[in-house]
């Protein structure tokens, strides 16, 4: 490994791994609550908010983007309720209309923004831009111990590290509440475990993760990161905590193998261009899920003959 690796490949690899783990952990609860598409919905809805924040502030700083995404999420809930009442259609259809319309609006908005000095284009928003994350001060492995160089780390690295820490703290503090509220919300309400509040908090965590991951893997592929590692992990064990550990392992494997395949594999076959890292990570996550379906020890569900 030469110094290029630390400058060009290590940062996207670390960001990819952090993003995958950030998504996989709350993804476990989404899968168990049959809310897998909440991740999908959230990542679609927040796009116009992120773009608006970018248009107004001209930067991709975390604060304004989170604020914009939060406003977009609240706005979508209000819109769904209005459409449901005024249009008298079923909630699923109202959600489908709002999510896709907001996403499309975000894309159009995005096309109008390619004027400033900070570039945010459609491709970036959809598929992320892991490859563009560069650590200019990372001149070699020794830079990892150089505080001056570490201070110049790409901002995504500390941002996602903090997000991961927040996700872990959330799950650790509300472990019993998430467990009881996901399994049996009616019972949870009677013992004071506040399933409604915890469910809302989970949705907020998912939204924050989706916004933080947006930069790295884009709005589309983040959905795969919420669902694939958690879904595969469910097929490996029959207890919740081991399932979380499996999902972290699968997320790390997907990110590392996916990034390496995208960055290095094309050159083995004589192609000069690397592939989309986020796309390859999501593809590997899908392959991991398929393998768990075929070979996972718990692939037979209750009711099926062993």
């Amino acid at each position: 490994m030469n110094s290029d690796f630390v400058m060009l490949n290590l940062p996207p690899l670390v960001v990819g791994v952090l993003t995958a783990v950030c998504c996989a952990l709350p993804g476990n609860f989404l899968v168990l609550r049959r809310q897998a598409l909440v991740g999908d919905a959230v990542s679609h809805v927040v796009l116009p908010g992120i773009v608006l924040a970018f248009v107004i502030t001209g930067s991709v700083a975390a604060g304004p983007m989170l604020l914009g995404a939060g406003l977009a999420a609240v706005g979508s809930l209000v819109l769904i309720e209005i459409i449901r009442r005024v249009g008298r259609i079923e909630p699923g259809a109202a959600m489908g209309v709002v999510f896709t319309a907001m996403f499309a609006g975000g894309i159009l908005l995005l096309e109008q923004t390619n004027t400033g000095h900070v570039h945010l284009d459609v491709e970036h928003a959809l598929y992320g831009s892991l490859e563009s994350i560069v650590w200019f001060d990372g001149e070699g492995w020794h830079s990892l111990f150089d505080s001056a160089a570490l201070a110049q780390l790409p901002p995504q690295v500390p941002r996602l590290a903090l997000t991961l820490l927040a996700v872990c703290v959330f799950i650790a503090v509300f472990w019993k509440e998430l467990f009881i509220g996901t399994f049996d919300p009616g019972f949870a309400a009677t013992v004071g475990a506040r399933p409604g509040l915890v469910g809302l908090a989970l949705a907020v965590v998912v939204a924050v993760v989706a916004v933080m991951a947006f930069d790295a893997v884009g709005a589309i592929i983040v959905v795969a990161m919420f669902i694939c590692p958690a879904g595969a992990a469910r097929l490996m064990t029959d207890r919740l905590f081991p399932q979380l550990l499996w999902s972290v392992a699968f997320a790390v494997i997907s990110a590392v193998v996916g990034y390496c395949l995208a960055a290095f594999a094309p050159s083995w076959f004589g192609f000069s261009h690397a592939l989309s890292a986020a796309g390859m990570i999501a593809t590997v996550a899908g392959v991991v899920f398929a393998a768990a379906c075929l070979f996972g020890p718990r692939r037979r569900r209750a009711g099926q003959v062993a």
Binding site: L32, R34, V173, W175, K176, F179, I180, T182, F183, D184, G186, F187, A189, T190, V191, G192, A193, R234, T237, D238, R239, L240, P242, Q243, R301, A302, G303
Partner: protein
């Protein structure tokens, strides 16, 4: 309201019960519901239901499908919002007495393919005593095993819940309620889809709880066993049709009124 006043007047004419005693009984009632009204999307599910449970009773809530039996207990417990009505548990507003209640939801309302073991589920019964951030340690593990022993499921403690039969799953839920160590047990269809062995085991556990002075309320669908298992009954069909001791209340005429024309086996059940 008139319906609930009338019997009191009749009793009062005969033997004049001391007013103080009557008030004390009302205050101490494990569950006293007045004027409970619940609506689902504009359609009334429950209309001004009054229902008072005597302490130490074993009560069946009986009525046709869609009568609001599950809704009654969910609304009483605050799981489903109520439009109107007051719910008092042991004299206090229900919100402040939740620690004295153990609730067993319908088995079919749960995804049993959940990554949890039998002992994980029973340990949920300790939630209130544990509080935030504490996990159930060894002492609680032994308590959970004791509760499983009482329903004959101790040997299955490490089993994933999806691998159990319907009856075994129901017994795990009963064990979780035992772990709550409550004074009022509210069960939604505890005998639905369970085998005969499980039904006998659950009845024995409930009778044992009653012998210790606990109060038990079950949503129940098998009219044939009401007289064997229960001493009080509430006949419900959106409104309260009748309630009281089984001997006086569980009559063919009142059942006919509860079920409308739909009940054929009333005479068989009543005989």
């Amino acid at each position: 309201m008139l319906d609930s006043v009338k019997p009191l007047r009749v009793v009062g004419a005969g033997q004049t019960p001391p007013a103080g005693e009557r008030a004390a009984h009302d205050v101490d009632s494990p569950l006293a519901i007045t004027g409970l009204t619940v609506s689902y999307g504009g359609k009334p599910a429950l209309l001004s239901v009054d229902f008072t449970v005597p302490a130490g009773a074993m009560v069946a809530i009986v009525g046709p499908n869609g009568a609001g039996k599950s809704t009654l207990i969910k609304a009483a417990l605050g799981i489903v919002p109520r439009i109107a009505g007051e719910v008092r548990v042991f004299g206090a507003p229900v919100e402040r007495a939740m620690a004295r209640i153990a609730y067993v939801p319908q088995r079919a309302s749960i995804d049993w393919d959940f990554p949890a073991t039998v002992i994980d589920v029973v340990s949920m019964g300790f939630y209130r005593r544990l509080g935030l951030l504490r996990l159930a340690g060894n002492r609680y593990r032994q308590k959970a095993l004791d509760c499983l022993e009482r329903v004959g499921m101790a040997a299955f403690a490490a089993r994933q819940i999806g691998q159990l039969s319907g009856g075994q799953q129901q017994r795990v839920f009963i064990a979780r309620a035992l772990a709550q160590d409550a004074d009022l047990y509210i069960l939604d269809e505890p005998f639905a889809g369970v085998d005969a062995v499980t039904e006998r085991a659950i009845v024995a556990v409930l009778k044992d709880l009653q012998a210790r002075g606990k109060t038990i309320i079950c949503v129940h669908h098998d009219l044939g066993t009401v007289q064997d298992y229960f001493d009080h009954v509430l006949l419900l069909n959106v409104r309260r049709i009748a309630s009281g001791p089984v001997a006086e209340t569980f009559t063919p005429a009142k059942l006919q009124e509860t079920y409308g024309g739909r009940l054929v086996a009333v005479q068989g059940a009543g005989a």
